[in-house]
Symmetry: C2
Subunit: 412 residues, 2 copies
Amino acid sequence: MRYSQLFGKTKRQDPKDEVSKNAKLLMRAGFVDKLMAGSYSILPLGFRVLKKIEQIVREEMNATGAQEILMPLVHPKSIWNETGRWETAREVMYQFKKDDKEYALSFTHEEILLDLVRKHIQTYHEFPAKLYHFSTKFRNELRAKSGLLRGREFLMKDLYSVHTSSEDLDKYYFEVAESYRKVFKRVDLDTKFVEAAGGVFTEGHTHEFQVLCETGEDTVYWCNACDFAENKEITKIKAGDKCPKCKKGKIIESKSIEVGNIFRFGTVYSEKMNVLFADKNGERKPAYLGSYGIGLTRLMGTLVEVYNDDKGIIWPKAVSPYEVHLVHIEDPNTESWAKEVYEKLTKAGVEVLWDDRADVTAGEKFADCDLIGIPIRLVVSKKVGKGRIEFKKRDQAKLETISFDKVFGKIA
Amino acid sequence: MRYSQLFGKTKRQDPKDEVSKNAKLLMRAGFVDKLMAGSYSILPLGFRVLKKIEQIVREEMNATGAQEILMPLVHPKSIWNETGRWETAREVMYQFKKDDKEYALSFTHEEILLDLVRKHIQTYHEFPAKLYHFSTKFRNELRAKSGLLRGREFLMKDLYSVHTSSEDLDKYYFEVAESYRKVFKRVDLDTKFVEAAGGVFTEGHTHEFQVLCETGEDTVYWCNACDFAENKEITKIKAGDKCPKCKKGKIIESKSIEVGNIFRFGTVYSEKMNVLFADKNGERKPAYLGSYGIGLTRLMGTLVEVYNDDKGIIWPKAVSPYEVHLVHIEDPNTESWAKEVYEKLTKAGVEVLWDDRADVTAGEKFADCDLIGIPIRLVVSKKVGKGRIEFKKRDQAKLETISFDKVFGKIA
């Protein structure tokens, strides 16, 4: 892609009405645009990041045997009345009336999913169902000051599983936990697997995947010797305590960002909604529900909170909008060489963002590279010389001048 | 995919509350589920069809130089007030209030797109902008009896282009028309390029892509000798007239389904919203807007209306959920052979739906094949014999018994 043609250029100034680092950097670098508090348009650069995250999540969901579907975003009141959440979740839901009928916007999809399941499978051998979709969620968040971390409208992958026993649900629940670990590892995020409260979702405990980060809204207590970790909301321990699990390590308190959350609802909603299955004896019993979410836009925001410096974003390779940022320092003698590098790399399947702008100084172009945060910068200029390329990693200061053939080995 | 594990099985009975062929067949065959009038969940089979349609559309949009983004679905009233559509489109829009603020659900995205454009580009050399997204539209359709053809919530690809002159808009408008022709050709739909009225969108004429189909809601008049075609809404001619364009052909009246629609808004909305660009002399002028839509779910419904017989759906190859429907007629001697065929094909990259169900008769399995509509059926059975496969196309009666090696040549 020629940067001159890309929609969504860098801006020198921070947006006025944002306080979070992720929103400031993503807006300045041209990844997103703000429509209103808690709601963003995803611009071409941001869209490429999101699609890469989506594909990683999709692959790991499919690997658990889950099937991809798509459920509607506007729901009839009647279905939310079945679980009582029309009333209990009223604050967070957008509810509205049209032509005397009442509707809600999707803030989650348990009810819709359970309705699907009860209509389509009724006998034990048809279970479990493992269904997921990528779709929009709407939540009336009171504070919408964390940029992409807490949107009023945002993208989520939500997976639901329905089982004939608590044991089968447990087994799949920990399988999904493992697949979440793989997702986060693939996007270079270290996560803690944290016990937490269920909020409006469930009265029982749940597990969250938390990324330690000073700018996070959550607080977790974790052991420096074992895998013990609890959310502040439920824990009774404090920083400096001895770990209640391994009895060896020390408890540390950290701010953190939740990037994934998994729930075991058991039969609570199935009982209310009559989601039953016939067992081997023909007896009808309520099914066991699990629910598993990863916010895609939130994950993008988290990556920016974790991977940045004073110059801009530093994308992990797996989700960078492009693999390579090619800069040509304006000069008639090396113009054809810059074009050749761009075309050769593109033809070889390398994703290249080429800053081909005229009338922009080298300094501005380098600053834009740092702000946008693609892991590898290649420079073609008079100084570097025809046939040669200057190579630099976003997270390192070292500059190297190499021949074109060496580029592939460097970016692999 | 093993059919025994697929979520969304065939049903013997038509749904009670559907009159359209597409909804009946798609629901019976397990492609979609109905949440409420005009709103459907897309089940795994339907999701695969939609993803294939989406990818074809994406490729053709990218080929025009358009860039993919994603715009929000909930919009502030203020932005719709700028064009006056908060009032003029009130009937079709879902509008609602939350905490004293008013919002609308996306029934289209011209206003949001123009807001993006005015914030990001202001000078002639930054134009044109060509931006598209795949997203959900919400329209309060009074009649929602056409299944996937007219949803209250549906998936759309909408592309917008913003130019510095009417000529540049015209040029791109017809480029998009050409790319739409390619999309429809790739999914095996013959379309007429029809002049039509703009509805709530524009007072000027627009163009629609119409598929001739007896069950369509639209009526078009077209020439049997040239490319003249007009929508009934605007035409003054009638069936049997001499063509006003070529003066040779005869005008024919047909029912039809609109699968694509393109609009030239010109500067109407740009003037209202102050979407201006500085020209070469620094003078600020309103920009020219074009808008181009293809309903993805509607396209899926149209394909079913056009390609079916009394037994079920007949998918065009390019969008079939799987390439091959493999049926094993229960028999212990050929069970391992069926599995081998499935695994070999899958390994070779062929998309196979394998009906591996026990306790289902051959007749039922064949009926399900015809209902689901995958273009190629392969049968492994005692009668066909180990090492051999029975080959049949969905749209032909001819049966052939072939060796495994011959399969690849047949399905390519």
